[in-house]
C-alpha cells in the first residue's frame, strides 16, 4: 500500500516548519507520519457533511479590553533573553529581502 506521505512531502513540510532534518530523520518521520496519518483517516468512516466544525468549546464571545495604556516591559527586560543584541535592537544575520 502506498505511503500516506512520501519523503518529498516530508521535506516540504520540514521546510514550512523551519526544521532542518537529517536524511535519517526524513526516513524515520516518513514512516512514522505515514502510520499516524493512516490511523487518523479512520475519521473518514464518519459522514460529516452536515456537521459544523467545532474549533472551540466555549459559549462566549466579545471579550474586549479598553484602549488604556499599560506600562511596557522596558528595553533591558525585553532584550534580557535575546541570543544576540545590538544596542537596543535584536540582532540577526543579514536579512536578504524577499517576499
Amino acid at each position: 500500500m502506498a505511503k500516506k506521505i512520501d519523503q518529498t512531502q516530508v521535506r516540504k513540510v520540514a521546510l514550512l516548519s523551519r526544521l532542518e532534518l537529517t536524511e535519517a530523520e526524513v526516513a524515520e518521520f516518513t514512516g512514522q507520519l505515514s502510520a499516524i496519518l493512516e490511523y487518523v483517516e479512520k475519521m473518514n468512516e464518519l459522514d460529516t457533511d452536515d456537521v459544523q466544525p467545532l474549533a472551540h468549546c466555549l459559549p462566549i464571545s466579545n471579550c474586549f479590553r479598553a484602549d488604556c495604556v499599560k506600562e511596557s516591559l522596558g528595553t533591558e527586560k525585553t532584550l534580557g533573553n535575546a541570543p544576540q543584541r545590538d544596542g537596543e535592537f535584536f540582532k540577526v544575520p543579514k536579512i536578504i529581502d524577499s517576499v
Partner: protein
Amino acid sequence: MQDDLLNMDCRELRDGIAAGRIKSITVAEAVFERIEQYEPIVGAYITTFKEHALAKAEEIDAQITAGKQVGQLAGVPIAVKDVLCTTFGATTCASKILENFHAPYNATVIEKLLSADAVIVGKTNMDEFAMGSSTENSGLKQTVNPWDTSRVPGGSSGGSTAAVAGRLCFAALGSDTGGSIRQPASFCGVVGLKPTYGRVSRFGLVAYGSSLDQIGPITRTVADSALMMNVIAGHDPADSTSVDEKQAPVCDYLEKLDEPVKQLKIAVVPQFNAGAESQVQTAIADAIDVYKNLGAEIIEIEMPHLDYAIAAYYIVATAEASSNLARYDGVHYGHRSENAEDYIEVYSKSRAEGFGKEVKRRIMLGTYALSSGYYDAYYLKALKVRSLIRSDFTKAFENCDCIMMPVSPTTAFKIGEKTDDPLKMYLSDVYTIAANLAGVPAVSIPCGFDENNLPIGLQILAPAFGEDRLLRIARMYEARTDWHKKKPAIV
C-alpha cells in the same frame, strides 16, 4: 514525626500552620530534606527554589506570629509544572530550546498561588512542551515512577505527579491537553483534576494545544483538589478564553465537598471500556459497585464517536502546536544555533537543535494537516469529528450526572517500552482525550492496584463547569475507600 508531617494533606497542614501549631519553616525544611534524599532517585524536578522557599516560609511564620491574616495555602509547599511562567528560575518546558529562558512575568495561576501564601518548592519535569504520555520526552532529564522506579510516571505532568506521590511536595499544578494530568495521576496513585476549559486562566501557561489546554491540581486527596481549585479557578481579563463569572460562577469547592450527591446517576460506556487491561476493568467495575452500594443508579450508554477521539485530537492538537511552537526560532529568546550562516538557518538549525523528536514529529504532523491541499481532509475533518464528540457528551449528560471510565488502558509501563512507536504511545490516551475535545471537567482518583502493586485510576467526567459536583462525587468514593492512603514503598 517528619514522615507524619509529610503525609498530611494540604488542608490539615494549612490549618495547623495558620493556628500556629506547625511552623511553616519546619515543613519547608522537611520537604527539602526529603528532596535531597529522594530527588536523585525520582528526578521529579527541573529546578528547586530552596532558599526562596525557606525565606517565604519564615515570612509566613512571622506573619502568623504577628497575628496577620494569611492566605488559603499558607505555608503549604507546592510544586508547579515547568510549563508555567515564573519570574523566578527558568521556564524551560523541559526543552533545550528554552533551557535558559527566564520569563519576565508570572503566570496568573502563579500569582494566585503566591497571593494564597503557598510556598513554591520548584518546577517539575514533563514531556517537552507537554507532548507525551510518559515524561520520557523531556529534553532535560528522566523522571521515574515512585511506585516502581523502572517504570514511567506517566505524562506529560509526570514530574508533578511523581513529586506529589513521592512526598517531595504537598500538591502540584499540572497541565492537561489530552490527559496529561489525569493519566500520570493514575500511574502515580494521586488525584488529578482537569477543570472545564475556560475555568482556570491559561495566561502564562506555555501553549501546546490552545483550545484544549487546561491547568489543574494534582493532590493526594479530593479535598486538596477542591482547596487548590478555590485558589486557582476564576475569570482572568488577560485570558479571553477564561469564562466570565456571571456566566459560570466559581464556588467554594470545599464547602459542600462531604455532602454526597443525592440520587446520583452514573453512566458507563461498556463497549468503550472493553479496550482496557482486565485488571483495570475489574478495578473500575469494583469502584462502580462502591457507588452502587451507596445508592447510585448505573446506566449503560453509547457514545458512538469516542472511538474517533484520538484521531481528531492528534490533528487538532498538533495543528495548534505547529503554530504555537513557531515562536521558538532563536531570534528573540531561547536557543540560537551557533552554526547558522544566514537568518533562515537561524530558524531551521536552532529549531533542529533545540527540539526533541516528539516535538518535531508533532510540529510536522500539524503543519501538514494545515497546509494547502490537506486542510479539509485533516484539520477541518477533525473539527467536525470534535463537534460530534461534544454532542455525544451533551446527549449523555442529559441522562446522567457523570460518566465513569478508566483513565488509561494500562498501569504504568516500563521506561523505554513504547518510545519506538509513537502511534502506540498515542493510542494509550484513548480514555482521556475526549474530555479535552469536549471541554468538560474530569478527575482521576486512585481506585486500586494491579498485580505489580501499580496504582489504577478511576476517571469521572462531568458536565462543563460542574467541578463542584464532580469533586463531591469523587469524594463519596474516597470517603469509603483507602486507596488514596497507600504510599509507594520508597516513602
